[in-house]
């Protein structure tokens, strides 16, 4: 029995990695080979798809646009959620618990519901097709999430630390930036990661609120149909490149995420 202990995890990892391997495999094949038949390895190994993505502006600008609005959204979400989470954790005010729950319910609404009002509103405000429009729209679900995660981390810090700082003479802004933020650094890291992730994978709002100037990579990928059909190799390469940023971020915050899970907030 014990000799077969490796079996289950191995099978699990194989099933888990198979689609990703297949994507990687496809990205190094030509479209003809992909359509031609089944093969475990690329017969004609080519990096042409990648070259195309990195040289064609319609492709790489998709990545740049995505990174801009995702970064913008992460910064906005965390910097607005931080004071909010502090208030929810430290102060008691009328309806605080209801407000906190209501904030969470925002995450339950499907983004599609908000697509039309956002589109109309942003068009009226001439925000349509800007990075800012998408970043702002994504705050809809990212700020509640960020408040929720950060509140957990902040409540883990004893209130007496705040008081000790005041007794030592720290003003609130100085205490918050010098003492408090480093203290919940891992929480901020985890929060930023989740904001990044959810904004990065969100397609509907990003696609609806942009046309040319701020078109995200996911939207670019859906428009690769050409006269010769879909360019599958190119799509696969774009897919691989879409996974990479998330993988990099996850590598850096992997320890903090475990901590967040332990606190029951992630």
């Amino acid at each position: 029995m014990t000799r077969l202990r490796w079996l289950v995890p191995t099978l699990y990892i194989i099933f888990l990695m198979l689609p990703i391997y297949w994507l990687l495999n496809m990205s190094f094949k030509t479209t003809n080979e992909i359509l031609g038949g089944f093969s475990w390895f690329p017969a004609e190994f080519t990096i042409e798809s990648y070259v195309k993505i990195f040289t064609d502006p319609t492709w790489y600008s998709g990545y740049i646009n995505s990174i801009i609005y995702v970064g913008l959204n992460t910064v906005i979400s965390v910097s607005f959620a931080l004071p909010a989470a502090y208030a929810f954790s430290r102060y008691r005010f009328v309806g605080d618990k209801h407000l906190f729950f209501w904030l969470l319910t925002n995450r339950m609404a499907p983004p599609a519901v908000f697509a039309l009002p956002f589109l109309q509103l942003y068009s009226a405000l001439e925000l349509f097709d800007t990075h800012f429009a998408v970043a702002l729209a994504h705050c809809l679900f990212n700020i509640p999430l960020a408040v929720w995660i950060l509140e957990g981390f902040i409540s883990g810090v004893p209130r007496e630390i705040d008081e000790t700082a005041y007794l030592d003479g720290y003003s609130f802004p100085r205490f918050f930036t010098k003492i408090f933020m480093p203290l919940i650094g891992s929480g901020i890291g985890v929060t930023a990661f989740f904001c990044f992730m959810f904004s990065w994978v969100e397609l509907l709002l990003a696609k609806t609120l942009t046309s040319v100037e701020a078109k995200p990579i996911a939207a670019v990928m859906t428009r690769t149909a050409s006269t010769s059909g879909y360019e599958l190799g190119l799509l696969a390469a774009a897919g691989v490149l879409t996974i990479i940023p998330g993988a990099i971020v996850i590598y850096f915050v992997r320890n903090y995420i475990a901590k967040g899970f332990a606190m029951g907030r992630v």
Partner: protein, 372 residues
């Protein structure tokens, strides 16, 4: 000088602090003594300015400080929990109040090293607090309070979570170290013997009220009422309702002849409180009252024994030196000496206390040896 005038604090319709009047002199050592939830921490938070009183006034040198920001008051506070800045090194933790005040680096360095040496932290200055033992963490907090040079130093059961040895050591050192700074030193504790060891003045607290404030030894020897007497006794005093008629106390059919001050008391019902170490298991030399009791439990700590006994529905506890071998259920005799009686009237006010020339030192010795 710090004065509290008719200070009260209500939280959600509940009185946490009621009608507190206290005044503390500069350079004085004061103890707040009371059981858990008696309002020690609430009172300290009011004095520090972390909370605002709902009534009354708090004055420093005659000027009201109610509503003044914590940052503007020169106060240091150490909590029962070990509170330090986890992201800063021990050195930076201690230096923190001086850094905020904008002291120059050389001055900070000198003071931090001085305080660290006093608190035996010199070799840990580069570590972060969470890598230290509990005792070292609390000493870091104490060192930070020390370098601040505050006018008011509040220590809220600072040694409660420390191990025995360290507690003994710091209890002796702390008042001495802070006395040199000339600050008003206020120390909260639940333990009567800690108050006795610290000396100075004691304010006894019960349910948010100060029941008595005066020199520690006086509060111990002449508690103004029953609650104060109970607060200042661990294990609790044994209370016996007695009726005085003429020159005798009548208690459960027994007559106790009284002498000295007690003779002057008016006839009527009284509550007599007897300290556990005045309930003796061996007949003393002089006159005494013998009572038959049943042993219900015994606790032996080594140098002394607590024997819990039952008599006529009352549970009493006796404290004696050495190890006493008595079995649960045994019928034994205990001896009372009327000269050790604290006598309280119907309103629980003290009317007579044991005269101190009878049992002067024994009281203190056994009380301080009490627990550890």
């Amino acid at each position: 000088m710090l004065e509290l005038i008719d200070v009260g604090k209500r939280v959600e319709g509940q009185d946490h602090i009621r009608d507190v009047n206290l005044s503390f002199d500069e350079g004085s050592l004061n103890v707040l003594l009371g059981p858990t939830l008696s309002g020690k921490t609430s009172l300290m938070r009011l004095m520090a300015g972390l909370d605002k009183p709902t009534s009354g006034d708090i004055r420093v040198n005659g000027n009201s400080v109610v509503g003044m920001a914590v940052q503007k008051r020169n106060v240091a506070m150490v909590y029962q929990q070990f509170i330090n800045y986890p992201t800063l090194t021990v050195y930076e933790n201690i230096a923190s109040p001086m850094r905020v005040a904008g002291a120059d680096a050389a001055n900070i360095d000198r003071k931090v090293r001085e305080a660290a040496a006093l608190m035996k932290l010199t070799e840990f200055l580069d570590r972060v607090p969470l890598n230290l033992s509990g005792g070292q963490q609390q000493r870091t907090a104490l060192a930070r309070a020390l370098v601040k040079g505050a006018d008011l130093v509040l220590l809220d059961e600072p040694l409660a979570n420390l191990d025995y040895k360290l507690r003994e050591e710091l209890r002796v050192e702390l008042p001495r170290i802070f006395a040199e700074t000339g600050a008003i030193f206020i120390y909260a504790t639940t333990e009567p013997h800690e108050a006795l060891l610290l000396g100075g003045k004691t304010a006894s607290l019960s349910e948010g009220r100060v029941t008595q404030f005066g020199p520690t030894i006086e509060v111990y020897n002449r508690p103004s009422d029953l609650i104060t007497a109970q607060t200042f006794s661990d294990p609790p005093m044994n209370i016996v309702p007695m009726t005085k008629t003429g020159s005798v106390f009548v208690f459960a059919g027994k007559q106790v002849p009284v002498s000295g001050d007690l003779v002057r008391l008016a006839d009527g019902p009284y509550k007599v409180a007897i300290r556990p170490h005045h309930l003796m298991l061996h007949a003393p030399a002089g006159e005494s009252l013998e009572l038959e009791v049943t042993v219900s439990t015994t606790e032996i700590t080594g140098s002394e024994s607590f024997v819990h006994v039952e008599t006529m529905g009352e549970r009493w506890v006796t404290l004696t030196h050495g190890v006493h071998r008595v079995e649960v259920g045994d019928r034994i005799s205990v001896y009372l000496d009327p000269r050790s009686f604290f006598v309280f009237d119907n309103q629980d006010r003290l009317v007579a206390a044991p005269s101190q020339d009878i049992l002067p030192h024994e009281d203190l010795a056994s009380a301080s040896a009490g627990h550890g």
